[in-house]
Symmetry: D2
Amino acid sequence: MRSYTEIEVRYAETDQMGIVHHSVYPIWFEAARTHFSREMGVSYKEMENMGLMLPVRELSVKYLEPAKYGDTVTIETRAVRLTPSRILFHYRVLCGVRTLAEGETLHAWVGQDLRPVNLRKGFPKVYEAAFKAIEEP
Amino acid sequence: MRSYTEIEVRYAETDQMGIVHHSVYPIWFEAARTHFSREMGVSYKEMENMGLMLPVRELSVKYLEPAKYGDTVTIETRAVRLTPSRILFHYRVLCGVRTLAEGETLHAWVGQDLRPVNLRKGFPKVYEAAFKAIEEP
Amino acid sequence: MRSYTEIEVRYAETDQMGIVHHSVYPIWFEAARTHFSREMGVSYKEMENMGLMLPVRELSVKYLEPAKYGDTVTIETRAVRLTPSRILFHYRVLCGVRTLAEGETLHAWVGQDLRPVNLRKGFPKVYEAAFKAIEEP
Amino acid sequence: MRSYTEIEVRYAETDQMGIVHHSVYPIWFEAARTHFSREMGVSYKEMENMGLMLPVRELSVKYLEPAKYGDTVTIETRAVRLTPSRILFHYRVLCGVRTLAEGETLHAWVGQDLRPVNLRKGFPKVYEAAFKAIEEP
């Protein structure tokens, strides 16, 4: 499964170089995960209501071309690996036919106390929905 | 009582106009309140640990001159009015002898459920510390 | 003329109080101005390309109810006053039938050097488009 | 050479998980690079005044333990690789004796038009200062 999230660049997201600041991309990735989780059948908000959280353990981004104010970008999101303790997402930031950036975020499944949980045992419905959404690279 | 908080402008705080984005000033004001509350004897972190929170009800800012990357600004902070339900802070953003901006934030004293509390009755120690820190304009 | 801008709350926009941080509303107002200017016939990007900029001189916000992750808010935007040197915008942040916040931003018409320009004389096409869009309060 | 930058966590930097949002770390890294470049003898502001810019091409972060409001963190910064076209920085985010996160940013030396420049030929003084500051891992 792939989700596609449209984002209009905000003026506040630019810096004095005249381009979108690199710290904004992880925020766009997160907005894209919100959509992805909704499309996969269990929204992130529902997960938190169940006592399940998904903090970021690793983040990587490659910046190929700058995004600018006036651009509308599309984030293509895939979940590419799932274990009972982890999930890995991959993102492409597109502007028309150009790829502006690519990135990955690795997350841990944790409870409200931020301690690891076994997703398959503790939240089988979420595990199943995520499992079906995985797209091997 | 007045507190003075030094802040170095971050590159990420600039926008493509080449100046600090106006949405950054409320964040600086908040960093300044963190210092103010510590100097007044009850840090905001302690307040939250007691179950007391201080969300912003009103915000106003006048922008006189832009702050720029490379600047170190000083936030002069005063608490100018206190009631059992509200507190009003006033800020001046200084860069050397120039005043770059002035602002105010009005806050409500609330509990963890975000409902109003009577500070004088519920948290007399905090009320007393805040009362002593008030500087009439 | 009124423009209506839909914004999905981003997780990154929340703070540890569990609500959208108050510094986010000016950023939403700005995204709403981007839409407003496009609908009024001269986008803010076109203005900057003409050498015209519109920095914020005054900002005020009243926060009535918190926005939360999972909410989609609508920003209702009006331009309520225009002079050759200034423009005043008014915003309402709506979530369903509830008004979460109201705010205003006062802007100066300036050139790329951040110095004032007379909009009516220097940029009559923009002045005319803005003038038609004004809605007295 | 290593630089050490102290940063007090801002309330606005937290999210509803009660921890510092992961998108904040790249902003801290950048504040740390500002200090590093100043200590190395050519501040980033001076570089931009010379027409030299240093956008981020790659970013990676490992999050080990959360930072929280009330924490003062220290960013340990090293430049670990330099070529005429690139520079690689490494960061450790420390809170007391704990390492909260580690990260790297790879940057390209570019001109004001965002096109690559040969640092050694075009800006020998900067190249020399950066070369002296390199600390092999």
